[in-house]
Amino acid sequence: MIELTNITKTYQMGETQVHALRGIDLTITQGEFVAIIGTSGSGKSTLMNIIGCLDIPTSGDYVLNGENASQLDDDAQARIRNREIGFIFQRFNLLARTTAVRQVSMPLMYSGIGTTERENRAVAALTSVGLGERVDHKPDELSGGQQQRVAIARALVTEPSLLLADEPTGALDSVSGEEVLQIFERLHAEGKTIVMVTHDMDVANRAKRIIRLRDGMIVNDYQVHQPVAPFDTTDSNVVIHNLEETA
């Protein structure tokens, strides 16, 4: 369902060019649960933003569900974001002073669904992440973990085929993080495609496939067979014996 071919992203910073991605080839199929790891600045977020149609690559092709998403105009990309993708951010990105149910029903409004159905589906989505009791709370009346679950409900409410999460547990304590991961595992079990960026090897190991980036390139891509003990994620040269290379 996701097919990246020779994707590059170059930022122009005054005189110098920052090559955030240097030729990414990646295929992710329906129903996979993928974790992207790598050191800070390795290009994880840049890659996720391109997959999520929040940004466009400098060169290369991105085909999503058979459609070439790198060639689309702004509004067409907005439609794809609305229907096909649910994006979860490290810092939640909820609207200030807006109740949970409104936050969650908003994507449905942009896809043209009527108020009553919108509300019902938003409440259902909030209930499914355990926030059925908190529908009228505003972000500043919720804990970080609850805010992130509102954001997950918002990402899920349109029933997208692809769920993207950029460090979804990064701003959460371990208990809230665990709740989020359990939701992901459930969604994966239900057949959702999930791509998640993380720094935390423990978190990455909850996924079924791990892709390691370094300096804008994929250096490792392997299936997880069983959880492993934490290790130094900053050293990408660590040889991982109990993992099987797939790339």
Binding site: N49, L54, A78, F87, N93, L95, M106, M109, S111
Partner: protein, 404 residues
């Protein structure tokens, strides 16, 4: 997304950000209220002045001497020439006034006062014909050299210690005059403040008063008042009066007039210039208020740009298209300026009515003023409401989300 949804979104957004909405609206309210209040008072003041001038009497032309080596130039003959039948067709009536400042006695009281000799029609001509008591003298009294007097209210009070002066007499230059009337205080019509004046008939005055003389030794008219036949003939009357007087005074072609003419409409014009200046002045203050209000709106909008840009990033990330964003922000601005505009308008009207009450004038709120005030504030509100949104909607969602 349809317009109802955009409207709902805009309302939700305003409701969620009440403080920002109120502050923005405040800028609009201040701007509009100030303009309407001040301009309403300014234009009301203009109308007040105009009414005042018109109440003096319409179509009046005042003729005054331009002194010639210190000698006045207007004479009784000029008065007759101007009044002569068939000569000045645009002139309906002509009256004259002469005057001396002298001692007036009544019993044991005496006062220094201006004693005016006036033609019988003078009171009516100058709209100074409302009596407190008694009657006026007329052309017949004048022609018969009647020794009668009409007093201003103040001098009547001073000379007769507040008693009824009708039937009593006063003495001016050793001549007795019977008091026949007392004018109401205050409104001197075209003659200005006349409460301390004494009026006697013209013919008697020419005999008994010690008047300024022309260089030929004739008694001089202080002023001649002419009334044009109607408003449209004021210019014609001015022309005819000028011709007649030049002839009377044997002025050769090219010589300068030795008199001057002031028409009522000229006065109206010069006063309305004054009140226009005043309106412009108030308008300038109002414009400053508009700018202050506008800067207020701008500040609020610009301060909230970061938050709003991020909001736009979020909305785009979850699928809002550009026109959804623009519609929402346009509607938000429209709702704010509409509500603010109505409140500002109402407040401006109240301000001008209250202010008008203090200044005892009726404010005039013209559509132009309203259009200016509402137009300006609404433009500022809408432009500064839309501009950041327009810019942010052009950004990639990820850039809008990262904006700070």
């Amino acid at each position: 997304m349809n317009i109802t949804e955009s409207f709902r979104t805009a309302l939700d957004s305003l409701r969620a950000n009440k403080m920002r909405a109120l502050l923005t609206m405040l800028g609009i309210i201040i701007g509009i209220a100030a303009v309407i209040g001040l301009m309403g008072l300014g234009e009301g003041f203009g109308e007040l002045i105009e009414d005042e001038i018109n109440s003096v009497g319409t179509n009046l032309i005042f003729v005054a001497s331009d002194s010639e080596n210190g000698y006045p130039t207007l004479t009784e003959d000029d008065l007759y020439a101007l009044a002569e039948d068939g000569r000045n067709t645009a002139v309906a009536a002509v009256g004259g006034v002469v005057g001396q400042q002298t001692e007036v006695t009544a019993g044991s009281n005496d006062q220094f006062a201006i004693v005016n000799g006036v033609t019988g029609n003078y009171f009516a001509l100058t709209n100074n014909d409302v009596l407190e008591r008694g009657g006026l003298f007329d052309e017949i009294d004048d022609a018969s050299f009647a020794q009668v007097a009409v007093l201003g209210s103040d001098i009547a009070y001073e000379l007769f210690d507040g008693m009824n002066p009708i039937g009593q007499s006063i003495t001016v230059n050793n001549t007795r005059f019977d008091v026949v009337g007392v004018l109401v205080p205050g409104d001197g019509g075209a003659s200005g403040d006349t409460d301390s004046n004494v009026y006697i008939p013209m013919n008697v005055a020419l005999q008994r008063l010690d008047l300024q003389e022309t260089r030929f030794g004739e008694p001089a008219m202080a002023q001649i008042v002419a009334q044009a036949a109607d408003e449209t003939q004021v210019d014609a009357a001015l022309e005819q009066i000028s011709l007649t007087l030049r002839e009377q005074h044997d002025l050769v072609y090219g010589a300068e007039d030795d008199f001057s003419l002031i028409s009522q409409s000229g006065l109206v014009e010069s006063f309305s210039t004054i009140s226009d200046t005043m309106t412009v002045f108030l308008g300038a203050i109002a414009a400053i208020s508009l700018v202050v209000g506008g800067i207020g709106i701008m500040n609020i909008m610009l301060v909230s740009v970061t938050e709003r840009t991020r909001e736009i990033g979020i909305r785009k990330a979850i699928g809002a298209q550009r026109r959804d964003i623009l519609a929402q922000f346009l509607l938000e601005s429209l709702i704010l300026t509409l509500i603010g505009g109505v409140i500002g308008l109402a407040l401006g009207v109240v301000v001008s009515i209250v202010g008008g009450g203090y200044l005892s004038l009726t404010p005039v709120i013209s559509t132009g003023t309203v259009a200016l005030a509402v137009g300006f504030s609404a433009s500022v509100g809408i432009i500064f409401g839309i501009y950041p949104a327009w810019k942010a909607s052009l950004m990639r969602p990820i850039d809008a989300l990262r904006y700070e």
